[in-house]
């Protein structure tokens, strides 16, 4: 692991650690209102000031980071599982299965990502509880984000279909699905890891886009998307620089994931 990847890993650990310690670092919580200090600048009591309805910004940033950093990997895990199952199995089976699965994948891939997300999000009720909105947003990302990974996995699994070890296993009578599960899937691990790490920053950015557009996590639950909506009211960049903290944190986290990814991309695929 080179210096930059080590640094990225440490930064991610630090940010995750701080977000998990939100209960201690910001004991007031993300929804407590200080009405006498609404829209206040940074002070000893509120390090990053308060938002327009008097909620502590630091608390909201920490809790929002926790939500994005825990649920984006969960969504990435779900999409990787789906990609492994759909793409991997289609590639392994080959023939009409592979062609059918890839046709569906191509159909999904030809839909611009944000259009697909908002269309499916619009099918679901928008006026749900904050907790449900968090789950719906990240579940949607996980359920829709498998397509490009499925394509890569299908190609990789296809390359194993006629390999010697698979032929030998088939000749010794191992049933198809068991053969895929025990012999083919473990060989796809490097690709699965890479796809998992690629998906996390994509999902974090997608949630941020949905949140800014008002289609993501519902208030009062914080997320990076809803925190970035505050930038909408800014008149100039230098006016209230502390409002940029969520954006800077987002850039640091996504950059760290991309630096970590440079190692995963180097894995044999």
């Amino acid at each position: 692991m080179n210096f930059w990847r080590r640094l990225a890993f440490l930064v991610l650990l630090l940010v995750l650690g701080m977000s998990l310690a939100a209960n201690w670092l910001a004991p007031a919580g993300y929804r407590t209102q200080y009405r006498e200090a609404a829209g206040a600048p940074p002070s000893r009591q509120h390090w990053l000031g308060t938002d327009e309805i008097g909620r502590d910004r630091l608390a909201r940033v920490l809790y929002g980071t926790r939500i994005s950093l825990l649920l984006a990997p969960a969504a990435a895990l779900l999409s990787t599982f789906m990609a492994a199952f759909i793409g991997g199995l289609a590639g392994y089976l080959g023939g009409i299965w592979a062609r059918g699965a890839m046709a569906i994948t191509d159909l999904f891939l030809s839909l611009p990502w944000l259009f697909l997300l908002i269309t499916v999000r619009a099918l679901l009720p928008l006026n749900v509880s904050p907790l449900i909105s968090v789950l719906v947003t990240f579940l949607l990302l996980g359920l829709l984000g498998w397509t490009s990974a499925a394509r890569v996995l299908s190609a990789s699994a296809g390359s194993f279909r006629d390999s010697d070890f698979v032929r030998q296993a088939r000749a010794s009578g191992i049933p198809g699905f068991r053969l895929f599960w025990i012999h083919v899937l473990p060989n796809l691990k490097p690709v699965l890891y890479a796809q998992f790490w690629i998906s996390i920053p994509v999902f974090i950015l997608s949630e941020a886009n949905l949140g800014i557009l008002g289609l993501g996590v519902a208030e009062p639950m914080p997320s990076w998307g809803s925190l970035l909506r505050e930038l909408e009211g800014l008149v100039s960049v230098g006016e209230e620089p502390w409002k940029f903290v969520p954006l800077i944190l987002l850039i640091i986290v996504v950059t760290s994931f991309q630096l970590l990814l440079s190692k995963e991309e180097g894995l044999p695929v």
């Binding site: 159909l107 611009p112 259009f115 697909l116 619009a122 970035l228 930038l231 850039i251």
Partner: protein, 288 residues
């Protein structure tokens, strides 16, 4: 061979339109509230009129019949009526389409001009500091959500097309730079340089013909990215285009409008990718 490629792409677009249309009709048909019609609550209507309205809805219960009915209407230019705006979808798309196409066109032009200029200069200058600086700038842009770029364009009074260009530029630049780096390290280019051929001649005669089809493929993909970026850019910059319409339809859960927009955008994406593929095919044939 070329004819077969065009036919294959044409078929792919047709099949996508038919399948996409069916899925969309299914979504619209199954959406909550489809079975109820606001007109049935109109106290001015008599029993026979309300019964007639109810019968019309019942006829649409069968998804396949509903799909073929929608397809027939679509072939005659009727894409249905927006639930939230109470206007024909085709008119809404016709009014807002030109602005979106203009935004996407200018955004793509700006992005590709900047990406090619920077990638070519990085490849020819080959100074580490320059490469690192460009990598940091494009890396930072890659970490910014499209909606944040749109907010910055509002903050700095920049045109929406620049925000779209900034969404596509880092991806275009990175692909182009990597392709150029690979092309310039090819043995025949190294030999050409060693023999003292001018940089411009190497670029025009040896690099561009090799990279042309690959760059076209990336250009096809960047159309999809640009169309996706129109949602946050138009919504946040207050531009009355198709992206803003899609956002408003999503907030109002106006499915007939939203699915029509999504199908249209999908077809545009497929058309762009197919065109890039066909031209790339022609270039490869010409080079061979």
């Amino acid at each position: 061979m070329l004819g077969r490629t065009i036919l294959r792409h044409g078929l792919a677009i047709l099949v996508t339109a038919l399948i996409g249309g069916f899925l969309s009709a299914t979504l619209v048909r199954l959406a909550p509230g489809f079975d109820t019609d606001e007109a049935q609550l109109d106290s001015r209507l008599n029993g026979a009129s309300i019964e007639a309205l109810r019968q019309t809805r019942i006829q649409q219960n069968n998804i396949f019949r509903f799909y073929f009915h929608s397809l027939d209407r679509a072939l005659h230019g009727d894409l249905g009526t927006s639930l939230s705006l109470q206007q024909p979808v085709s008119r809404l798309l016709g009014d807002r389409g030109p602005l979106t196409l203009k935004l996407v066109g200018i955004g793509l032009l700006l992005s590709w001009t900047a990406a090619l200029a920077l990638a070519l200069s990085a490849a020819s200058v080959q100074v580490a500091a320059y490469d690192i600086a460009v990598t940091i700038v494009t890396g930072t842009l890659l970490c910014l959500p499209a909606a944040v770029l749109a907010l910055f364009s509002v903050l700095w009074n920049a045109p929406g097309a620049i925000a779209i260009a900034l969404v596509i530029f880092p991806r275009d630049f990175r692909y182009t730079r990597n392709l150029l780096a690979k092309a310039y390290s090819a043995p025949h280019i190294v030999t050409a340089r060693a023999k003292g051929l001018g940089e411009l001649r190497i670029l025009v005669w040896h690099v561009i013909p090799v990279l042309g089809p690959q760059l076209l493929a990336v250009a096809g993909v960047s159309v999809s990215l640009a169309l996706g970026a129109t949602i946050p850019v138009e919504a946040l910059c207050g531009l009355a285009g198709v992206g803003q319409l899609a956002w408003q339809a999503a907030l109002a859960r106006d499915l007939p409008l939203l699915v029509n927009i999504t199908i249209l955008v999908t077809l545009l994406t497929l058309l762009a990718n197919s065109t890039a593929d066909v031209i790339g095919h022609m270039l490869r044939g010409h080079a061979a």
